[in-house]
């Protein structure tokens, strides 16, 4: 059940759903969506209630549109990432073999040192969902290279949550361990900052504390989500 929101937050939810906000106001509202489930629910509720305004305009697109869409599916970035994540999960469950092979890839193919230009826009992500074992909200301020991640729900475990960024190549890079409750501040290494861009995935796995940050995850993610820049 959603709790009653104060009036100004109720109006803010409607403003976000309608798209009235821009700049810092929009950033603030989107952050609130990630950190406050009752606010997010209010935004969803407005979207639901505005939905009938889309009624009455139905029109058939050209018949050759679906084949055109189907041709574009396999090349899409997320399709590759989806397969990579699926492979990761199977590998993680089967044995440590995949982790070992990922580590080998990292060792055998060292990345050349580059001058990295970080994206200049704030990035946010929600990791997990109400159904996932864990739920976290992250935001990243590229100017300071600091990622703040708030654990909203985390399963009890003797292991520690480790945060990973998975860019387009599908290879997870550890950003280190994070706290099981409250907000963790993660200083992102300069070489990793450019990976925190729109469309990259953040994921949490449970790992032993020893040896962190690890080269590769040893288990399936308990929460994952895409980064959006705002």
């Amino acid at each position: 059940m959603t709790e009653a929101l104060p009036e100004d937050l109720g109006a803010l939810a409607a403003e976000l759903a309608l798209g009235l906000l821009d700049g810092e106001e929009r950033t603030r509202a989107m952050r609130l969506c990630l950190s406050d489930p009752s606010f997010a629910a209010a935004v969803d509720r407005w979207r639901d209630q505005l939905l009938p305004l889309h009624g009455g305009f139905e029109e058939q697109p050209a018949p050759d549109l679906w084949p055109a869409i189907r041709r574009r599916l396999t090349g899409s970035h997320d399709d590759r990432l989806r397969r990579a994540l699926r492979g990761w999960r199977i590998g993680a469950i089967a044995s440590g073999a995949l982790a070992a092979s990922l580590a080998a890839v990292l060792v055998l193919r060292p990345q050349p040192v580059q001058v990295i230009h970080a994206p200049d826009r704030t990035a946010i992500a929600q990791l997990g969902s109400d159904e996932a074992p864990a739920l976290l909200a992250a935001n990243y301020d590229p100017s300071g290279g600091v990622l703040r991640i708030r654990a909203l729900r985390m399963p009890a475990s003797n292991l520690a949550p480790e945060l990973w960024v998975i860019p387009q190549d599908g290879v997870p890079r550890s950003l280190g361990l994070v706290s099981t409750d409250g907000v963790s501040r993660v200083s992102v290494a300069a070489s990793t900052r450019s990976l925190l861009r729109d469309g990259a995935t953040l994921a949490i796995t449970l790992e032993p504390r020893e040896g962190a940050p690890h080269r590769a995850p040893s288990s399936a993610p308990i929460a994952a989500g895409k980064i959006s820049t705002i």
Binding site: T2, A4, L5, E7, G10, A11, A14, E15, L18, G19, L20, L21, D22, A40, A41, A42, D44, R45, R47, D48, Q49, L50, L51, P52, L53, H54, G55, G56, F57, E58, E59, Q60, P61, A62, L65, W66, A68, I69, R70, R72, L73, S76, H77, D78, D79, R82, R83, R86, S129, D130, E131, G225, K226
Partner: protein, 188 residues
């Protein structure tokens, strides 16, 4: 219009989106067949250009393919989620292709004329839709502004420029209207 099929359609859309999240192209085709007319209507209404709307519609279903795993049936109905993707993609296109740095003066009139025809079409199709009745109860300028925000992607700033009022005035008009709407829609 009592729609007994709505619940069934909703469930089958939720199930199809779960399949799409697992990479099932046939499930995406089912989603496309069930929703393309509606989403094409959303795109066309916003961008007013058939060829552009068809290109946008392709992007919409690629996004659905990529993001289906993020759809959460407990948070939103599938059609709300799909319409939000279509609306946002179409509004992005508008901003990239049509948004002038300064709105022309005639935009105020364009808003004043905000397509009463379409408005009537909605009302007659979904007479029971509470949102339509509630919007009708609003002050006319606030209703026009909300209409322009919803269909044309106008932000507060653009609305203030288009209707030639200070930003603070525009915000207070709309906030008052949103609170009134909230009461009318029975939030909380």
């Amino acid at each position: 219009m009592a729609d007994v099929g709505a619940g069934v359609r909703r469930e089958s859309l939720v199930a199809a989106l779960e399949q799409v999240a697992r990479g099932d192209q046939r499930a995406l085709e089912d989603v496309y067949m069930a929703t393309c007319a509606k989403l094409f209507g959303v795109c066309l209404r916003i961008c007013q250009d058939r060829a552009a709307a068809e290109d946008i519609l392709q992007q919409v279903y690629i996004k659905v393919w990529d993001r289906a795993g993020r759809f959460d049936p407990d948070r939103a109905s599938p059609i709300t989620w799909l319409c939000a993707i279509a609306r946002n993609t179409a509004l992005d296109w508008r901003r990239a292709n049509q948004a002038p740095a300064h709105l022309p003066e005639s935009a105020a009139e364009a808003i004043a004329d905000a397509t009463p025809l379409a408005w009537e079409a909605i009302a007659s199709e979904q007479e029971s839709a509470r949102i339509v009745a509630c919007l009708d109860g609003l002050d006319e300028r606030a209703r026009r502004a909300i209409h322009a925000a919803f269909y044309d992607g106008f932000t507060y700033l653009q609305l203030a420029q288009a209707m030639a009022v200070p930003l603070g005035t525009m915000k207070s008009w709309i906030r008052r209207a949103l609170l009134q709407l909230r009461g009318c829609l029975g939030h909380d």
